[in-house]
Amino acid sequence: MKLKVYRYHEGMKEPRYDTFKLKSDPSITVLGALFQFQQEFDDSIAFHYSCRGAVCGTCAMLINKVPRLACRTQVASLIQGELKIPLSEFPAIEETVKWNPEEEILVEPLPNFPVIRDLIVDTTSFFNYYKFVEPVFKPADKTPEKERLMDPSAIPELELYTNCILCGACFGSCPIDGKNPDYWGPAALAKLYRFHIDPREKKGTDRLELANIPEGWWACEFYGNCRRVCPKGVPPLIAIAKAREQLNDINEKKEEEP
């Protein structure tokens, strides 16, 4: 088993790939493999990590051409081909380097983000889109003394979106973000929708209107990669479809009332 890792730092003309032979341990994760690489092969490699338990969203990278959390991805399952996901074409899916999936694991930085060094990417624009959606709770009423009551049946749908860990995997696999850097992308829109459907929020269409622009709800072409790669099962494309439907309804109503 080998790890084939993308290496780049400022000043290099072209990125290079380093290959490292793993000590065989069937239960090792790709993150574990990267630590092996760092400790025994080259300690200058740079990659992000924190929780190692698939909850903090730090370690998303392109593994065998699919954006995944390195800490959650088992080396053995990759080699056995169990983790294949059919994805629509996106820029980084092209084979730019030779690699033998039967004995090598290809590890590259998350696509659609500028690479800073090795596997570390610049998330500034990703968090800018997060900023654009004004991700702050805006309550409908004055702050009550006790908790606001909430119908438990409202929670499952809300949870679909609050689960997002802002790992950026969806953004990295989005064909639209790949060609249109102004598109806010799946994660930001899912976040926006989370606030829109929160029953405690100020009702109305403010949240929907916020992204009622070509770079917002309307840029998506429903390729669905976001949903397929999301480690938390967040369905940004359902949020986008519902938001559009609601906006269309509003427009129709406006036309009916002259």
Binding site: S27, D42, S50, P139, M150, P152, I155, T162, I165, R200
Partner: protein
């Protein structure tokens, strides 16, 4: 504070600093009234309070705040909301919460701090709700509560099994709204002192490798726990106790460092947490004979006895040959049914499937005890103040002593938010008495850190320092784990000393500046080695068993000699251990029975 008064101030020669700093024109110095080190729940809650008071505060964090360890908390946050009645229809109260906490702590908690936390609990959970946290709800729309170990009522408010995630995101959103500056991926390297006060810190900008200075009137440490000193740990990999080491180097004492919580149920292999919520929902522990062994150890509370009790029971089963090969027991959830598991424990299920290939709906989950929480920490008074003027601490890195010798599940998230806010209030109150910032000591401190890094990088020995890192974590788990005895610990201490010695000659191989994560880990390990020694000495000196500190050679709790806090401080290279009294109050120490 208890007569301890050992503030060591570097004698500063400002001309010297000016001359030296002339040689580093690129050094950047930032100025804020309050610097908060750490972007977990504690740091974020404090930052919000400080901004709302109109002070200029900033956060420094070695990772993006949302990647802080707090995001991983699963089971919930305690508060006596009384939304779910207890047995006999009785209602919960903050006094009952305080009682359970003090009893759980094996009477080592300071009762004034416990009282304050429990009184503030309900308003704290409700405050998060008001900020937008999505809590799980009861049929009547109120915040749901579940039973947790050692608690007399279903008191733990939860958001499925993603409580930390939901709460941290909420606070981050609020932070964002206030435009509070965050220095992200900055690794703090030293606390700076001037005229007997803490007036800032230095930090490496990991992206560039440059050392920056931060001048402030007050510094709040919110750096979280030190779990990664132990090989089997539920903690994020970044929980290396840096804050504790920074405090020590500033001659600020640490308290009760021997009290390390081992969570009974961590996933066999990776030690990722299987939340106590799993037993709260009805999960049971089974040994290799298929017996529900908790019946023998805690006949009343069974699987929901406090963590120290359950962890010891599992370890005993394993040691006596009733565990499975490799050293684990089973956590059985299968009888709960698919619906309940998917509704209440979806994250747990996913972790078990991803990391152990087991679906808890169909099969029991292999679990073993692992390090989970640091009860001890930076010694602070009830206001979160240390003996060093201008330096405060809160959250897991601090020991305000609400957990004593054993923390109850759900009390730590509570502590982070309650004391994040209250300590910030104290900082705001103290603001006028703190001196205006002076930049010269910061410049000198930057030079010191640059010299230190230069020295490390110049070392000739190219041995692999990661081996030292791995070795120290093994020693700590094996010699200072769930069961301790003097022979094992003495051996362990010698090994720690040897590793310190070896380490002082090593150096990262990578000598570049930008993103030198090897250097960052190196600096983390340096601190870990010192903390390991302190944990060791504190544990060796406490010749009794209390809470998580279980000594085979001293199996009884000894209130006559040890109803007191251990205080450890660095005196040159040496560690001095002293003691100070526990603050008692509403509850007299009794034997714990569960």
């Amino acid at each position: 504070m208890g007569g301890v008064n050992v503030i060591v101030t570097k004698s500063l020669n400002h001309d010297d600093a000016k001359e030296k700093s002339g040689s580093i024109p690129q050094a950047t110095i930032h100025s804020h009234e309050v610097i908060i080190i750490g972007g977990g729940l504690t740091g974020l809650r404090a930052a919000i309070q400080i901004a709302d008071a109109g002070l200029n505060g900033a956060i420094i964090s070695k990772v993006h705040p949302l990647r802080s360890h707090s995001v991983a908390a699963q089971g919930g946050m305690n508060a006596s909301l009384g939304n779910v009645p207890g047995e006999d229809g009785k209602n919960d109260s903050w006094e009952m919460h305080a009682y359970d906490t003090v009893k759980g702590s094996d009477y080592l908690a300071d009762q004034d701090a416990v009282e304050l936390m429990c009184r503030e609990a309900t308003s704290t959970v409700i405050e998060l709700e008001h900020m937008g946290t999505v809590w799980s709800r009861l049929e009547n729309g109120k915040i749901a509560q579940r039973p947790f170990g050692g608690a007399g009522f279903p008191r733990t408010c939860y958001a499925a099994d993603r409580t930390g995630h939901n709460a941290l995101n909420t606070l981050y959103e609020q932070l964002f709204d206030r435009d509070i500056p965050v220095y992200e991926e900055f690794f703090v390297t030293s606390l700076v002192q001037d005229r007997g006060r803490c007036n800032g810190c230095t930090a490496i900008d990991i992206k560039t490798g440059n050392v920056h200075g931060f001048v402030s009137k007050a510094v709040l440490m919110a750096t979280g726990g030190f779990g990664r000193i132990f090989s089997r740990s539920t903690n994020a990999l970044i929980n290396t106790g840096d804050g504790h080491a920074l405090a020590l180097n500033a001659c600020v004492p640490l308290k009760d460092m021997e009290f390390v919580q081992f969570h009974p149920t961590t996933l066999y292999g990776t030690n990722i947490l299987m939340s106590e919520g799993a037993r709260g929902e009805g999960g049971i522990l089974l040994n290799s004979n298929g017996e529900r062994f908790m019946e023998h150890y805690a006949p009343n509370s069974l699987d929901l006895a406090p963590r120290d009790v359950v962890a010891r029971s599992i370890e005993t089963e394993i040691r006596e040959g009733r565990g499975f090969d490799g050293g684990y027991v089973n956590l059985d959830l299968t009888h709960l049914g698919a619906d309940r598991i998917m509704e209440r424990l979806p994250g747990i299920r996913q972790i078990a499937m991803d990391f152990a290939g087991v679906d808890p709906i169909d099969d029991p989950v292999p679990v073993q005890p692992g390090q989970h929480y640091s009860m001890g920490g930076i010694d602070v008074d009830i206001n979160g103040a240390t003996i060093l003027l201008g330096l405060y601490a809160a959250g897991e890195c601090a020991c305000i002593s609400v957990h004593g010798a054993n923390r109850l599940g759900g009390n730590s998230l509570l502590e982070t938010v309650v004391y994040g806010r209250l300590v910030a209030d104290k900082i705001i109150e103290d603001n006028p008495i703190h001196l205006e910032q002076d930049i010269e000591p910061i410049k000198l401190a930057i030079i010191d850190i640059e010299d230190k890094i230069g020295d490390i990088m110049d070392r000739k020995d190219n041995g692999n320092f990661f081996r030292v890192k791995n070795a120290i974590t093994d020693i700590m788990f094996n010699k200072f784990g769930i069961f301790r005895d003097s022979d094992g610990m003495d051996e362990g201490l010698v090994e720690i000393k040897n590793l310190q010695e070896q380490f002082s000659k090593l150096s990262p191989i990578n000598k570049e500046k930008p993103f030198n994560q090897s250097l960052i880990q190196f600096l983390e390990v340096e601190g870990m080695l010192k903390l390991a020694e302190i944990i060791a000495l504190s544990a060796i000196e406490r010749k009794e068993s209390r809470g998580s500190h279980t000594r085979i050679d001293h199996p009884e709790r000894d209130d006559v000699n040890f109803l007191k806090h251990t205080v450890s401080i660095l005196n040159g290279e040496e560690v001095d251990i002293t003691y100070k009294p526990v603050i008692l109050g509403m509850f007299e120490p009794k034997e714990r029975v569960y």
